[in-house]
């Protein structure tokens, strides 16, 4: 089965042109795969029609879990398993538990959020990201459109739409499966043979 990816990329250097271009492209019912910008562009998420992240809800749940664990831990340790008199206070004295519960809430929420984010975005050290255009880390904004996902339009149509909306250049970008294969073994071998400073693959 063909799993190679075919993209067409538009290059913009002005973020206000980019914003209007994104709007125009989306009005024509074209799905944008991703936009890469060297700096955060305000209102881009609105233009792309992104929904609010559900991460805060995850954070809340992680936090609640942390609080529950902390209170349970303290009650079980100091109240049930090994009661100790500390400062003449009751074994289970809620005010004393507050700082620990607070810290555990923060700890669970923070680690939980980072973990969730890594998991959801599939971030791992040996991941090989698709680099659409290296200039997106310098001074250009890159709009990537998946050719397969927009197969009702031809490549030429997409190119002209990008050019009409103000793209300075329109390029095609293809990724093969083997290029982007995330392999832990390959990562480790590369790490030993090339060291941490060099990349595991050539960037174009």
């Amino acid at each position: 089965m063909e799993k190679n990816k075919h993209f067409i990329t538009g290059v913009f250097s002005d973020h206000s042109v980019l914003l209007s271009a994104v709007k125009k492209i989306r009005e024509k019912n074209i799905k944008i795969h991703e936009v890469f910008t060297p700096y955060p562009v305000h209102h881009l998420e609105d233009a792309l029609g992104y929904k609010r992240s559900w991460m805060p809800k995850a954070a809340f749940l992680f936090g609640i879990t942390g609080t529950t664990c902390a209170i349970l831990m303290q009650v079980l340790m100091l109240g049930v398993d090994w009661p100790m008199i500390i400062g003449g206070k009751p074994f289970i004295s809620i005010p004393d538990f507050v700082p620990v519960s607070f810290e555990m809430t923060v700890l669970f929420a923070a680690f939980g959020m980072v973990g969730t984010f890594f998991f959801v975005r599939d971030l791992k050290p040996y991941k090989v990201p698709r680099v659409f255009d290296r200039r997106s880390t310098d001074d250009k904004h890159i709009v990537a459109i998946d050719l397969v996902a927009n197969n009702e339009k031809t490549q030429d149509e997409l190119t002209s739409i990008l050019q009409e909306s103000g793209a300075e250049e329109v390029n095609t970008r293809n990724f093969t499966d083997s290029d982007n294969e995330a392999s832990f073994v390959k990562y480790v071998v590369d790490l030993f043979s090339n060291g941490v400073t060099s990349s595991s693959r050539s960037l174009s």
């Binding site: 206000s16 914003l19 305000h42 805060p56 809340f60 400062g87 005010p95 004393d96 507050v98």
Partner: protein, 428 residues
């Protein structure tokens, strides 16, 4: 991005209708206070038995009548609360400059308008202290310092170099004068910037703000010891300055947010979007948690160490039949309510939510000051009646009148502020 050029030459007009509403609040407040005083005088017994015991104890101290004491205590609470609201206006204004904040530029006039009440608050404070010093502050009695007197108090006498009426008055006058001058100078420079433009005034304002913040850092703490902590003369807490400041700051932020939201409701401040409200909401949310943090830090250390001279403060409050419930009401209104109410992003961006939470927080922090002042001054005679509802309304009406009429004299948006553009396009 669609916000572009808007009308930024807005001016707030203090309409006769609004003036009438402000006056009605004041008049209803006065009527309620008078009813409250009458009820205390002719309303028969005090509701709780402990009152009589305390009454006998008080009689030996040649204090004023109960209702006079309660009136003084209430005046003092409201003085503190509204002084806090107005000084936070100046403080928050200065913070914006020192932090080089861009988002808040279109709110600066509203923020600084709070400072206009400061001179009045100072005069009220002095007048109330002049009449009520013996009823509010135990340490003002001369016999405490007289070794020959049977009621000589070595602990209070030891504090005499700091806690004596002339020095106390000097500090009070100095603080209010310096604060008012800073408020005036900051406002004046901001207005000159509006008239003349250029970055000269901005840089000058930053420098003045730094000076103010340094002075305020010291003076807010000392004023908290003076005006509140010295009521319970034997007791002391190193957290107290921060605690009062936190309470002031949250109520000031809630007041600023409320005024911004109301102005938007009345059709002003069009460039203020939900993004600005979001940031104000974050401030109220964050500093409600800060207040709780300080409150709890003070409580936990005293609870844990269990030293009698420290626990007396919480003993008076938690072990009292009357005050104990207020501690929990206080924590609910000032922590749980804003914490859960403003937790989500949507809540911070909605005018209705902000209005409800800010009003609750303001009431909550008034109650916080009530809890700081009343147990020490009135012992078990404290109450929450018509007087406690009426008097804040009188103060609120005076405060609103001063702030709103001040606001109507200047343009609502500082059109020559160097960072105005950033504020207009603010996006969170």
């Amino acid at each position: 991005m669609e916000i572009v050029a808007q009308n930024i030459d807005e001016k707030f007009s203090f309409s006769p209708k609004l003036k009438k509403q402000v006056f009605i609040i004041g008049i209803v407040g006065i009527i309620l206070s008078i009813i409250g005083i009458l009820v205390m005088n002719f309303g028969g017994h005090h509701g709780h038995e402990a009152g009589h015991v305390a009454e006998h104890a008080m009689a030996e101290h040649h204090g004023s009548a109960d209702w006079v004491k309660r009136l003084f205590a209430n005046l003092w609470i409201n003085n503190l609360f509204f002084t806090g609201l107005s000084i936070i206006g100046v403080f928050f204004f200065a913070v914006q400059y020192v932090a080089n904040a861009g988002w808040s530029v279109i709110l600066l006039r509203v923020i600084s308008s709070f400072g206009r009440f400061l001179p009045i608050a100072g005069v009220l404070m002095l007048v109330v202290f002049f009449f009520a010093s013996h009823d509010l502050f135990h340490w003002t009695h001369d016999y405490l310092y007289d070794e020959a007197h049977p009621e000589y108090d070595p602990i209070i006498a030891g504090k005499a170099p700091f806690l004596n009426t002339p020095f106390y008055l000097t500090r009070m006058i100095a603080f209010f004068t310096v604060w008012s001058i800073f408020a005036f100078v900051l406002r004046k420079n901001a207005l000159s910037e509006d008239a003349n433009g250029g970055t000269k005034y901005y840089r000058r304002l930053v420098r003045i703000s730094v000076g103010f913040l340094i002075f305020f850092g010291v003076s807010s703490s000392i004023s908290a010891w003076d005006w509140i902590m010295s009521i319970d003369t034997h007791w002391f807490s190193t957290m107290f300055g921060w605690y009062v400041f936190a309470s002031w700051f949250v109520s000031g932020l809630a007041g600023i947010t409320l005024l911004v939201v109301l102005l938007k409701d009345w059709g002003y401040l069009k460039p203020v979007t939900e993004n600005h409200l979001h940031d104000l909401g974050k401030f109220v949310f964050a500093f409600s948690i800060f207040w709780t943090y300080i409150w709890f830090s003070q409580f936990l250390l005293i609870y844990y160490a269990n030293i009698p001279e420290e626990t007396v403060y919480f003993w008076e409050r938690l072990k009292s039949d009357y005050y104990s419930k207020f501690i929990f009401v206080n924590l609910f209104l000032n922590f749980f309510f804003p914490f859960l109410g403003l937790m989500t992003r949507d809540a911070k961006r909605k005018i209705t939510f902000l209005k409800i939470v800010c009003v609750v927080v303001l009431i909550g922090h008034w109650l916080d000051f009530y809890l700081m002042v009343t147990p020490g001054t009135l012992k078990e005679l404290g109450g929450l009646g018509f007087l406690e509802i009426g008097l804040p309304m009188v103060y609120l009406s005076a405060f609103a009148y001063v702030v709103l009429s001040g606001l109507s004299k200047v343009a609502l948006i500082p059109k020559n502020h160097p960072m105005l553009e950033e504020s207009l396009y603010h996006h969170t």
